[in-house]
Amino acid sequence: MVSPLYIIAVALVAAFLLGLLKEERRGLAYSVTLVTLALMSWISANWLWLFISTDAVPVEIYTAGTAPPFAINLRMGLVEAALTLLINLTGLISGLAMKDSLLRQGRRAMAVWLVAVMALSGIVLTRDMFNMFVFFELAVIATAGLVLISEHIRNDGLTLAAGFKYMITSQFISTFLLIGIIFAYHATGTLNIDGMANTSLVLLNGGSIAFFLMFIAIIAELKPFPANGWALDIYESADPAFSALFSAATGAAALYAADKLLLIGGAEWLPIATGIGIVTFVAANLLALPQTHDRRLLGYSSIAQTGLILVVLGQRDILGEHTLFIAGGLLLSHAVAKAGLFWLSGLVAGRELNAWAALRSHPLLVFAFVTFICMLTGLPPFPGFYAKWELIHLLAGEGRIALLGLILFSALIEAGYLFRWFGYVMKRESPAEPVDTAPHKTAAVLVAVIAAWGLSFLWGELAGALFGRGNILLALPLLFALSFLLLDPLPAWLKNTLAIAGMVAWFYLTYTEYDPLRMIFAAIFLIGGALTLLASYHAHGKRIGFYPSAMLMYAGLAMLIRATSTFDFFVAWELLTVGSYFLILRGKHSEPHALSYILFSLGGAFMILAGFALAAQGAPHFSLASLQELAQPLAPWVFLLLAIGFMTKTAAIGLHIWLPGAHAEAETDVSPMVSGILLKAGLYGLIMLLLTMGRQNFYGVDLVNAMLWIGAITALIGNLLAIFQEDAKRLLAYSSIGQMGYAMFGLALMNHLGWLMALMFVINHYVYKSMLFLAVGGVAKRTGTREMYRMGGLITLMPLSFIATLIGIIAVSGVPPLSGFGGRWIFYNAILTSEARLPMIILFLAGPIAFLYLFRLIYTIFLGQLKDEFRRVKEAPFWIILPQMIYVAILLVVAVVPGLVLRHVDAYLDQFFPNGGLSWDGMIITSDFGYWNPIAIMIIVGVIFMTLFSWLLFVNRRAQKVKQFNIVFSAERPFRPETTHFAWNFFAPYRKALGFLTLPLVTLFWSTMTDFLHTAGDLTRRFYTGNGQTYAYHLLGFVIIVYLFGMGIQP
């Protein structure tokens, strides 16, 4: 092995060599620089490979031929190898990305660059405190120097000011550090870090203050809140490639330095580190919320991530041997993603977040952006996800709930601004200036993308080795979904065929594994999903991005039903969430709605995560089935968290505001997917939860009972809101909220029929809501509007869509003879055995309200007066009609023989609820209370109807269709369809009577919440006045506060 000292030596040799070169030989100088950085990276990589592939122990490297503590020594272990590789590679790639400016500034700038990278490696490698100081100072000066010499690029003085602020701060820091070091030396008689740790410095006379000074100095290098104004200015103003190094490499080195110090400080200082970390994590994310400048935003995010990792280091007392896995996962995620984003920002001309919309014309760059933000947010399969999972679990296992809550809360804020940004990228107007696609700059970004996925794989393998988890990236459905990234250049129809084939094949491969309950969901997710995909054949071209997103969602769904452990379940949950988010975001005006969707979903997901973590109590493996073994006092909390998480997905009242916009603004063929299919994931979760945990008592409240109430109120409010919508898809969306309320109510009844009803809802809702969304979507496509009052009289022009809608609304309303009635019948039978009667009253009220919006839907679109501008409208495209007709057929079949599916489920439910099942006697279905004969009903109704129809035909056989305005009108003849089509504000009296129930209180609540966060962030950030001197005050204030805390907890 090459001695790691060569990392330092090679960099210095090259730096000095550059001094020998002539100023004009810039190309040569640049090559020397890159080769050197590559060499440094190679050395690190070599070591890393050694440590990964063998069980080699860390190597101590002595200098001066003398053993420590008498001479400086370095250490090369797994961590050091990884970190130096990270630093050197970042240096190399940033050097590549900075090609233009390095070439312009010449050899001296390159030398400084090399020294900067070398110094950061030195910080990581050295085991000597004073030597670390030297490397820190080198890094500081090199940083300041790079800022200074890159100033002329912008030439506005801003960079200069930022650099000077940095220098001011570092003067204070180095003073503290030096004083600390010398007193620590005095106290311990050594400068060696391990030596200091061994003599337990903090306990020696005066040692704790000495340690504090060293500690605070290193911590200050981590840019903790609030002593970090200078860092933000650097992030904002410096060359992005430099910022990448500053964020990824400097951050990593400083964190490792902090880690070394914590080694000295011992357990007493861990809470302080945690405290600083969490305050920084929360505050920086909060402050990032109101940012509009991309690099400053990234700066805030960097600081936040550093804070989080500091928390992890501070929690090492409970994380133990897993600290490395967790901190490493978070650090690498942060470093790769942040470096990638900074490099990406070098491609974008504008500095506003909006300006990133320019990326949109380059799918590859969009993919890179997505990769980075998902990585930062800690979504699977990225390393941060594994790390977050373990971190939260270990915290929960030790009962550090407040910390856990703060971490998740802050992570949610972070996801908020990152995904908002992604929304800008996808939806905002593209700026005039194109993306700079110089090969060396894009190459840097792509390297980061490759690193991101490579690390994901690696972390998956590590998780497998350490915890016995499966590598997410090896999950077949996910691989299938990701393969569509590569297939994206193919035409849409081909991809569609592949997607359908894949889903059906997966179902075929796995269908034997499902019990009847899961089978329902599997059929809906996979076969149902394939069916809705038929509608996607109507799309032309390539439809870039659609299939990876859709298949990601379906992959998540497919994995969800096969999951047996909490980990697998959560992975699937996150995948389907993020996939559906991308799908929803594709809608033309869906930006804000997609954002609120992902935020609610992630919030819910975090609840689930917390719930799982709480349940596991630190156990590395926790199967879903073991949820039922939980006991008081833990169980109700777990139940509560999980239930809220799942109810976010089913859009229970209070958590529902994301749904209408998200479902309504989605594309025509996406709406049925996210409504008909995706919502069922939440129900599936609830079913899992109730099956395993059953009733829980939370401070005297029966949680299942509470769910009953929530279900009922959701049903009422959802239905009520639906009737006041002018937008057809919004109407359907609100209707979904109501329907999910019914299903939830059924589950919460906790009896046989309640569950049967819920499952019936699951099936029916999938069929009719998919059908209705397709029908309405087809109409909207043809008419170019979703406002129902603008339509009217389309029945003759779009007869097939009309038939689908008609069958759909009959099914939804529960009018016999179609399948919806079965649901109602079971419902009435189910509630008869339930003790909770009051919530049913609400449900009774909700029931008939459905008629209102359903009638409105069909009437205002298809009946009434046809508008002039739509006289030439054609029937919806074939591929949108086809699935609808299939759904019609399914509805009719299910109406006649509901037993086809329900029988099996009914029998299956016997094991959970032995009493109160149905008996299937021939065609008659009998419950404890009543009976129902679907075929008889169908035949009787059919016969009566046909008889009367024949009679009418007989007496009125010559009826001819008359013109549109041939109607009996009070004293005048209508001539304009607009004034004759009664459609707008359709249920005005209803609004007068019950409109108070539809006040947007929930929306108000959530918008107040977000406004509050924004305002808090906006006000707090005023505190960064921009004055370098003020920042010094902040730093000193920070030092003193930490001192008071730190000394307060000392024994």
Partner: protein, 122 residues
Amino acid sequence: MMTSLAHWAMAAGFVLILIGFYGALTNRNLLRMIVAFCIADTGVNIVLVAVGHMRGRTAPILDSAVPVADAVSRIIDPVPQALVLTAIVIGLGVTAMMLAYALKLYEKKRTLDIAKFTELKW
């Protein structure tokens, strides 16, 4: 206890640091701030050296006055002296950098007032 020379020197060093800090915190002129930092640096160096001081001993140079065999009992701690050398040089580098900054900042805005360089904030 403030009896030894080391204590007095150290106290002086600390006072210098505080004076330097005060100057850096209250002077808005860049050059004055840099000078203030130099004062603080000097203070740090004095503290560094003071820590190594031991009463009644001599410089760590082995010559006729300090034979090798007696060194352990005759010389003061050499380490702080070595460290202070490094610290001084680094301080010099930093000062040079700050001066360069001050120069460039002055070029940009024709002012040395730190409060005038606040475009980047929030």
